[in-house]
Every structure is written in structure tokens, then in C-alpha cells.
Amino acid sequence: MMLFAQLKEDVGKSSLEVEAAGKTVAELRELLENDTSLGSLDGIMVAVNEEFSKDDRVIKKGDVIALIPPVSGG
């Protein structure tokens, strides 16, 4: 799972290994909030294969997952 910006700095690396296959995005969020040091993911989007994803999307093996903090480009 890819991390960017503040999340990357908090964790100290640009990716995290997680067992996500078979879980929904909502379940992944819960797992991350409870079992990692990331803390609250309020306001953080989950991207699956480079698309913003809703909570009920089921993650498949091989999907590329990224956590997307509120963007501030431009």
C-alpha cells in the first residue's frame, strides 16, 4: 500500500505491507486504524488501481492500493 505526503513522513516509509485481498475498502480502513500507527483516516481517501474508491469496493489480489490525503496541488 502506497503512502504520500504527511502519511509517508509519519510512517517513515513510502509503502506498507497489508493483507487486503478479499476485504472491502471499509474493512481495510478499519484494519489500518486499529492495527497500525496511522491513526484516524478521517479525510483520507483510498485509491484502488489509481481510482478513488467507495467503502464497499472489494479489494482483489494484485490491486494497487494507495492512501490519498486531501490533495493540495496546483
Binding site: M2, F4, A5, Q6, L7, K8, E9, S40, L41, D42, G43, I44, M45, A47, V48, E50, E51, F52, S53, K54, D56, R57, A66, I68, P69, P70, V71, S72, G73, G74
Partner: protein, 155 residues
Amino acid sequence: MGCTITRDPIKIDEIYQQVVRREAGAVTVFVGTVRELTHGKKTLYLEYEAYESMALKKMEQIIDEIKQKWPAVKQATMIHRIGRLEITDIAIAIAVSSPHRPDAYEANRYAIERVKELVPIWKKEHWEDGEKWIGNQQGTKEYTAGKPEESDLLE
């Protein structure tokens, strides 16, 4: 011809040339530069980071949206710089060409608003007394933008 993410200085003449068309009488170029003061605080420099592959995909999506919404638009493109940027450096440039000017202004404005909603690029401000990722997750969001709309979400 497509959208670009670069670590080099952005040249506005290059992006302008990309959209010039014989059938277009109006070209708008928006340039976002690094501003020294934000909310009265003095910025020393910025750092931009991108989720590059997704950011390019989203930039291309915005161009497609423009062509849907303003079918008369002849060409539109954008370039975003990442890495360390100094005051007055160009962070983003957006160019739109159209036969007539209303479309060129409106589509260009639409593009930058959408960039600020859904292109995964982040900036870190560096001040004399600290630094911070803007739009970060500590509930200190500086923009109401920075969040994709419901319709941007995949099931």
C-alpha cells in the same frame, strides 16, 4: 501532447504552443506560482510530491471532462512541476484553446478547480519556523477543496 509532470522549470510558451490551432481564436493560460505570503505567513519555499501515475491519469481525465463539457474547445493541456520550488516558480500551467473566448476562460477555470479536487499532488510549505504538508490529515485542512466529489468515486 498529453499532460505532464516535471521536475524542471515550466516554460509557458511551450504549453501555449501545444494548444494553438488555426481554428482557435482564443487561448487562455493559467499559471499557478509559488506565493510568498499565505494567511500572512512568509513561505521560504515549497516541496511538491505526486502519486505520479495516478496524477497523470486524473489530469487526462480533467482534459476529457473539458472536451465533453465544452465541445468547441480545440485543445487543452496542463503541466505540473514537483520537487522543490522557490517563490515565483511556476507550479502549474493550464492552456486551453477555443474558437471563442468564453469557452476558453470557463474551461480553463474548471480545470484548475478540478485539479485542486482530485489530482493526487501535495505541497509542503516551508517557513522560517517550521514546515507542514498542506491539506494534511490532522484536521487542519486549508481548503474546502482537496477532496474528490461523490461522482469521482469508483464503486
